[in-house]
Amino acid sequence: MIKFKNVSKFYGPIKALDNISFDVEAGEMVFVVGPSGAGKSTLMKLLYREEKNTHGQISINNIDVSSLSSDKIPYLRRRMGIIFQDFKLLPNKTIFDNIAYGLRGLGVSEFEIQKRVGGALNLVALLDRANAYPDELSGGEQQRIGIARAIVQGPPLVIADEPTGNLDPKTSIEIFNLLKSISLRGTTVLVSTHNHKIVKEFRERVLVLEGGKLVNDTILNPSPYA
C-alpha cells in the first residue's frame, strides 16, 4: 500500500531523511521508532504532504504522492486519518463537535455525521462523553478522541505521530492496543514512537530510524506459529 523508494528529505542544508526505502502492505501495523530528531515526523509529513520529499518516490495505493498537485492534496488526505502527539482538539468545542468538525467542512449531512461520530466514539469506548469538553477528559481519553476523529471517515490508512508522547506507559499501551485493533479491521496503521521499550511488548513490524537513516526493518518477537 505504501512504497518509499530512495526517499530523501532536506530542510535547506539539514538532511532529515537519507535514502529511505520500504514497503507497507495493506492492513499492516508498523512502528516507526527512533530517538528525537531521527526523522519520524518528517517521514509521516511526507505521507500526508505537509512536506514534500526532495528525492525519491513515495506512493500510496499506486498514487504518486510526491508529484501530487496541491489541488489534489485534499483528496489524498480524505483517505487517511492523522493522529498527533498533542491531540489537537479544539478546546471550545464538545467531543462530538470536535469529531464532527472536519465532516461539516466536507459537507456531510447532519444525519450522516450523527451516525459516523457515534460509531467512532463507540469504537474508542467514549460514547458517553460526547457532550464533554476536551479539558474534562484525561490525556489518554483525549487521545482516544483524536483516534476517533482520525477514523471517522473510515480511512484505509491511519498515521499516528508519537500518539503516546504525552502519556504514561500504561496509557500508551492502551492506545497502541486500540490502534492494533483498528489495524485488525483492515486499516493500515503507521505509528511512531521514541519509546523502544513499549514497542517490545508488541509483536509488530518495526522500522528503526537514526539520524534520518533506516537502520533496521524487522518483525519483533515473530509468532512461533507463523
Binding site: P74, R77, K88, Y101, G102, L103, R104, G105, G107
Partner: protein
C-alpha cells in the same frame, strides 16, 4: 445538496469570524465607510459639475441688463436683426421686479432697483459667444450675463478638487487595506488550529478560505450602504437648494438632476468596497493559509 450545506456552513463560519472580531469590525467599517463616502463624494461632485457645464455649453440664452433710460424696444429690435439670434424677449423692469418679489417674498412694491432685461436666444450654442461679443459694445447696455463665462473658473476648480479628492481616497484606501489585512490575519492566527484540522481532514481549500473572504465582502457591503447616506443627504438637501438659489441669478433652462448618477455611483462604491475587501482577504489567506 452537499454544496448547499457547504455554503451554509461557510456562512455560519463567517458569522463566527465576524463575532470574534468584535471591536475591529467597527474600526474597519468606520474607515472603509469614510473612504467610500469620500470616493463616492468625489465622483458625485465630479459628475454634478460636469453635468452643469455640459448643460451650460448647450445654453442658447443669455440676459442683457440695460441701463436706466435706454431705448429698450429699439435695442431689442437691433439685436434681433443679428442673423444668429432667434428671438429676443423683453422683460420690463416692472415684471422682473414682480417676479423677484414673488420669489423672495418681498411685499414692498416701491423702489424697483432692477433694470429692463432682454432675454436673447441664439440659434446654436456656439453662436452665443460671438453674439455676446458683438452686442457688448452697444450703447445702453449695463451688463451681459451668460453662463459659460461664469464656469471657466469652475472647470479649473473641478479638476483640482477631483485630483486632490482621489489622492486622499487613495491614501485612505491603502490604510483601509492594511487594517482589513491585519484584522483577517488576526482571525487566521487565532484559528490556526481549526484551519490545520480542516486542512488535514482534506477539506477543500475554498471552504477554508471562504469564510475569510465572505467576511471581507461583509465589510464592503455594510460600508457601502452606510457611505451612501451622506451622499443622499447632500443630493437631496444641499445640492437642490444650491440649484434653486442658482436659478435666481441665472436664466437656466435645465435642471441638474444627478439622482440617476447617484445610483451608478452607489454601484461603483459597492463594487469597489467588495472588490478591495475580498481581494485583501484573499491575499491574506493565501499568504497565511497553506494547503
Amino acid at each position: 445538496m452537499r454544496s448547499l450545506r457547504i455554503i451554509w456552513r461557510i456562512l455560519k463560519e463567517t458569522y463566527q469570524s465576524i463575532k470574534f472580531s468584535g471591536m475591529s469590525n467597527f474600526m474597519v467599517i468606520s474607515i472603509l465607510t469614510v473612504t467610500l463616502a469620500l470616493f463616492g463624494g468625489v465622483l458625485q461632485f465630479n459628475s454634478s459639475i460636469k453635468q452643469i457645464y455640459q448643460n451650460l455649453d448647450n445654453q442658447l440664452e443669455f440676459s442683457v441688463y440695460l441701463l436706466d433710460g435706454a431705448e429698450t424696444k429699439s435695442l431689442a429690435n437691433k439685436i434681433s436683426q443679428i442673423e444668429e439670434v432667434k428671438k429676443v424677449d423683453i422683460i420690463p423692469k416692472s415684471v422682473a421686479w414682480k417676479n423677484f418679489r414673488a420669489k423672495f417674498g418681498f411685499s414692498n412694491e416701491a423702489g424697483n432697483p432692477l433694470p429692463d432685461t432682454l432675454h436673447v436666444n441664439v440659434r446654436k450654442a456656439q453662436d452665443l459667444k460671438p453674439v455676446v461679443e458683438k452686442i457688448k459694445n452697444y450703447s445702453g447696455i449695463e451688463q451681459i450675463s451668460y453662463a459659460p463665462e461664469l464656469f471657466q473658473g469652475l472647470k479649473r476648480v473641478r479638476s483640482i478638487l477631483f485630483s486632490f479628492g482621489l489622492f486622499i481616497t487613495l491614501i485612505l484606501a491603502i490604510s483601509t487595506i492594511t487594517i482589513i489585512s491585519n484584522t483577517i490575519q488576526l482571525i487566521i492566527k487565532s484559528r490556526s488550529l481549526e484551519i490545520k484540522i480542516l486542512r488535514l481532514v482534506g477539506v477543500d481549500d475554498w471552504f477554508i478560505r471562504g469564510p475569510f473572504i465572505t467576511h471581507g465582502i461583509f465589510y464592503g457591503v455594510v460600508s457601502a450602504f452606510i457611505a451612501i447616506i451622506p451622499l443622499l443627504i447632500f443630493q437631496k438637501f444641499i445640492w437642490n437648494s444650491f440649484q434653486s438659489s442658482f436659478k435666481t441669478i441665472m436664466p437656466l433652462t435645465f435642471n441638474f438632476d444627478s439622482s440617476n448618477e447617484l445610483g451608478l455611483i452607489f454601484f461603483i462604491m459597492l463594487l469597489t468596497g467588495v472588490t478591495v475587501c475580498s481581494a485583501s482577504s484573499y491575499m491574506v489567506t493565501s499568504r497565511y493559509i497553506k494547503i
